[in-house]
C-alpha cells in the first residue's frame, strides 16, 4: 500500500523518507494530511453501561476537548453486536474517510480484520486495542492500520495470580471464574494463572467455571462452590472485576466477605473501592481513560503532520504492549479518584505517544 500513499502525497513521502533516513521517529514536521477542521475522531466501543467503557468514552472525549476537536468527536456503540460494530464503521465512511481516525475497542477479535480492510480500502485510519486474530499485523503493508495497542493479558493474569497466591500464603485450594471462553483475554489471563500455579505447587484449582464476564452468572456458581467445598476454598480467582464482585456478594451472603481473598481484572471503580475496604485483594488496570484517548491522539498527530504516516514507524511503534498497573490495598487510594484530563495531557503530546509502551507485542 505504500505506493498508494506515495501517489497521494509525493511530498509527504519524500519528506518522510528524508526524515526516516535522518531520525527514525520523533517527529520533526511531516506534511499534514488533513485540515484540522476536517479531522473526525471516532471512538467505537460496546456500550456505556459498564464503567470500563464509560471511561473509554470519557478519555476520548477529554482528548478531543483538549485538542479543540470536540465537535468532531463521534461515539459508536454496538451493544455487544459484533456485526454491528463493523457496519457502524463502514456506514460513517461514505463521507470524508481520509481524515477519519477510529479508536477501536474490538467487541471480539474477529472484527479486527474486516475493520482494518475497510480502513485500507476507504483510506480511513484505525487504531485497535486489546487483541487481534493471530497472524495479523499492522506493519505487514496495512498502512491505514495505524497501530495495535495490545494488552498483555497473560502478564496481567500472572500479576493478579501472584497477588492471590501471596494472599493465601502459597498454599490451599482456589476456585476460578472464567470470562467468555472464546475471547483472547479470558484464555490468556487463565494462562497467566497456570504459569503462576506451576511455580506454587501448594496451590490447587478446586474448580473452574465460565461466568461470561457477568456478575449475575458468577453469584450462583460461587454459591454452589461454597456449598460443595465449604472451608476448602482459600481464594477466588476471577477473570474480571464484574465476576469478582459477583463472587464477593455470594461470599457476603455466606458471611465470608473479606475473609477469603478475591482477585479480579480491569480496575473498575467499584472494585477499587472494594479493595479499599479489604474485601477484594487485587485487580489490574489497563487504564480505560488512556485506551480511549491514545488512538485518537496518534491519529491527530499523524493527520496534522506532527508525526509522519504509520508506514514510517517502527514495528514496535505499530504494535506494542500497554503498561498496566496492579492495584492493591497499598495504592487503591491513589486510583480511587476519577481520572482527569490534566493527568494525561503530557502523554497525549505527539512526542509522548509511546510513553506507556512496554515493548513489541509480536
Amino acid at each position: 500500500m505504500t505506493h498508494k500513499v506515495a501517489q497521494r502525497h509525493p511530498a509527504a513521502l519524500g519528506l518522510a523518507i528524508g526524515l526516516a533516513l535522518a531520525v527514525p521517529m520523533l517527529a520533526a514536521h511531516a506534511q499534514a494530511l488533513c485540515e484540522r477542521s476536517q479531522i473526525r475522531l471516532v471512538n467505537s466501543m460496546r456500550e456505556l453501561a459498564q464503567p470500563y467503557h464509560a471511561d473509554l468514552n470519557k478519555g476520548g472525549r477529554a482528548f478531543a476537548r483538549w485538542a479543540g476537536l470536540e465537535s468532531q468527536y463521534v461515539l459508536q456503540l454496538n451493544q455487544g453486536d459484533t456485526d454491528k460494530q463493523i457496519a457502524l464503521m463502514r456506514s460513517i465512511l461514505a463521507t470524508n474517510p481520509r481524515c477519519t481516525i477510529f479508536n477501536i475497542e474490538p467487541n471480539a477479535d474477529v472484527v479486527v480484520k474486516p475493520m482494518v480492510e475497510t480502513a485500507q480500502e476507504t483510506g480511513a485510519w484505525i487504531v485497535t486495542h486489546w487483541a487481534h486474530p493471530p497472524g495479523l499485523h499492522p506493519f505487514e503493508g496495512r498502512d491505514h492500520w495505524v497501530a495495535h495497542v495490545a494488552v498483555d493479558s497473560e502478564a496481567v493474569g500472572r500479576a493478579v495470580s501472584e497477588q492471590l497466591v501471596a494472599a493465601i500464603g502459597g498454599k490451599g485450594g482456589i476456585v476460578v471464574l472464567h470470562g467468555r471462553l472464546d475471547t483472547d483475554p479470558a484464555q490468556k489471563r487463565f494462562a497467566g494463572l497456570k504459569a503462576v500455579l506451576a511455580k506454587h505447587p501448594g496451590v490447587t484449582v478446586l474448580a473452574e467455571q465460565p461466568a461470561n464476564w457477568d456478575r449475575r452468572a458468577a453469584f450462583p456458581i460461587m454459591q454452589a462452590w461454597l456449598s460443595k467445598f465449604g472451608a476448602g476454598i482459600r481464594g477466588v480467582w476471577a477473570a474480571n472485576d464484574d465476576m469478582a464482585l459477583g463472587a464477593l456478594e455470594a461470599l457476603r451472603a455466606a458471611g465470608l466477605a473479606g475473609r477469603i481473598p478475591v482477585v479480579g481484572v480491569d480496575g473498575i471503580p467499584e472494585a477499587i473501592a472494594a479493595i479499599g475496604r479489604g474485601e477484594l485483594t487485587a485487580t489490574v488496570s489497563s487504564d480505560a481513560f488512556y485506551q480511549g484517548s491514545i488512538g485518537l491522539a496518534m491519529g491527530v498527530c499523524m493527520l496534522t503532520g506532527q508525526v509522519p504516516p504509520p508506514d514510517r514507524w517502527t514495528k514496535a511503534q505499530r504494535e506494542y504492549y500497554l503498561r498496566t498497573v496492579v492495584i492493591t490495598r497499598e495504592n487503591a487510594a491513589r486510583h480511587a479518584s476519577e481520572p482527569a484530563a490534566e493527568g494525561y495531557i503530557d502523554e497525549w503530546r505527539c512526542d509522548q505517544l509511546w510513553s506507556r509502551s512496554t515493548g513489541p507485542a509480536f
Binding site: L88, V111, P114, P134, D184
Partner: protein, 313 residues
C-alpha cells in the same frame, strides 16, 4: 397460486415502510443513498438475509428455529479449521453438516414430539458449545480457498455474499410456489391436522424444512467467515433476533401458514436500515436502543397482514 399466493404478493405495506425509512434516514444523512452506503447495506444484509430465509420457511410451518445463529457460528469455526486440511472441500463439507444438524433437530422435534422452540433452544447450547470445544477461540483461516475469497469480494458494487443470499432466497421462493413441497408447507402451517389426514407426510416436510434452515444457517456462517477471514464460536450470535425480526416485520405470521420469502426480503432491508440507519442519522448513540425498539414496533404495526391473521397472539 390462489389463496396463499394472493396474500403473499401483497407486500405493499413493507415496501412503503422501507421507503419511508430510507427517505427519513437520507434526509438526515444524504450520503446514505451513495453507491458506497448501499453496498455497505448489502454487505450488512447478506448474513441476516440467509438466516431469515431459512427462518421464514420454518415460521410458515408454524415452528421456530432458535438455533440458526449457533449453527452459523459452528460452521464458521469448522470452515476455518477445515480449509487447511480439506481445501476447497471444506465449505461443502461444513454446509452438509449444517444441513444434517438442521435435519436432526427436525427429526427430534417430530419423533420425540418436543416443541421446536425447545429442540432448537437446546440446539443453541449444543452447537455453540461444540463450536467452543473444537475452536476454543477465534480461528483465522490458514490456507486459501478460492470460493471463500470470491465470497469476500464484490463486483460492480454487488457484494458476492449478498448475491449468494439473493440466489438462495430466489431458489427457495421458486420451490415454495412451484413445488408441492411449498403448498404442503403452507397447508401444515394453516391446518396441520387436515394436512396429516390428507396424507401429507408432515414429518418428512418438517424435517426437510429444518434441514433447509440448517443449510441457510451454514451459508450464513460461510459468508461471515469469508467476511472476517476467521471463524469464531459466537460470531453470528448477535444475528438471531434481527433475523427473526426481519421475518416477522416482513409480515409473515408467527402463527404459521401465512407469509412469503419476498416479504422477508423486504423485512431484512427494513431491519438492516433500522440497525445502522439510526446511527447514521446521527442520533445520540445512547438513544439508539430506544429508537430501534420503537421503530420495530411501528414497522410491524404497519406491515403486519391483518387480513390473513385472524387472532393476534
Amino acid at each position: 397460486m390462489d389463496a396463499v399466493r394472493s396474500n403473499a404478493a401483497s407486500s405493499l405495506a413493507p415496501t412503503a415502510v422501507l421507503a419511508v425509512l430510507v427517505i427519513a434516514v437520507s434526509a438526515f444523512a444524504p450520503s446514505f443513498l451513495s453507491a458506497y452506503s448501499l453496498r455497505v447495506l448489502a454487505e450488512e444484509s447478506s448474513a441476516i438475509l440467509l438466516l431469515a430465509t431459512g427462518q421464514t420457511l420454518v415460521v410458515i410451518l408454524g415452528r421456530i428455529d432458535l438455533s440458526t445463529a449457533a449453527i452459523a457460528s459452528l460452521v464458521s469455526v469448522l470452515v476455518a479449521l477445515a480449509v487447511p486440511r480439506l481445501g476447497a472441500a471444506a465449505v461443502p463439507a461444513a454446509l452438509l453438516l449444517a444441513t444434517a444438524i438442521g435435519a436432526w433437530q427436525g427429526v427430534v422435534h417430530v419423533k420425540a414430539r418436543v416443541p421446536s422452540f425447545i429442540v432448537t433452544l437446546a440446539g443453541i447450547g449444543l452447537w455453540s458449545g461444540i463450536a467452543l470445544a473444537v475452536a476454543k477461540t477465534t480461528v483465522p483461516i490458514a490456507g486459501r480457498d478460492p470460493f471463500l475469497e470470491w465470497l469476500g469480494q464484490s463486483s460492480w458494487g454487488m457484494p458476492h455474499a449478498f448475491a449468494l443470499a439473493l440466489a438462495t432466497l430466489a431458489c427457495f421462493h421458486a420451490a415454495m410456489v412451484r413445488l408441492r413441497f411449498g403448498r404442503e408447507l403452507h397447508a401444515i402451517g394453516l391446518a396441520e391436522r387436515v394436512a396429516l389426514l390428507s396424507g401429507v407426510p408432515v414429518g418428512r416436510v418438517v424435517v426437510l424444512t429444518f434441514a433447509a434452515s440448517g443449510l441457510c444457517a451454514g451459508l450464513a456462517g460461510t459468508a461471515m467467515v469469508a467476511r472476517s477471514g476467521s471463524g469464531n464460536p459466537s460470531i453470528a450470535d448477535s444475528l438471531l433476533l434481527p433475523s427473526i425480526a426481519a421475518v416477522l416485520i416482513g409480515g409473515t405470521a408467527i402463527t404459521g401458514g401465512h407469509g412469503s420469502l419476498l416479504r422477508t426480503l423486504l423485512g431484512v432491508f427494513i431491519v438492516v436500515v433500522l440497525r445502522v440507519g439510526v446511527a447514521i442519522a446521527g442520533l445520540a448513540p445512547a438513544f439508539e436502543p430506544l429508537a430501534y425498539g420503537l421503530l420495530v414496533v411501528v414497522a410491524v404495526a404497519a406491515t403486519i397482514d391483518r387480513r390473513s391473521i385472524g387472532i393476534v397472539k
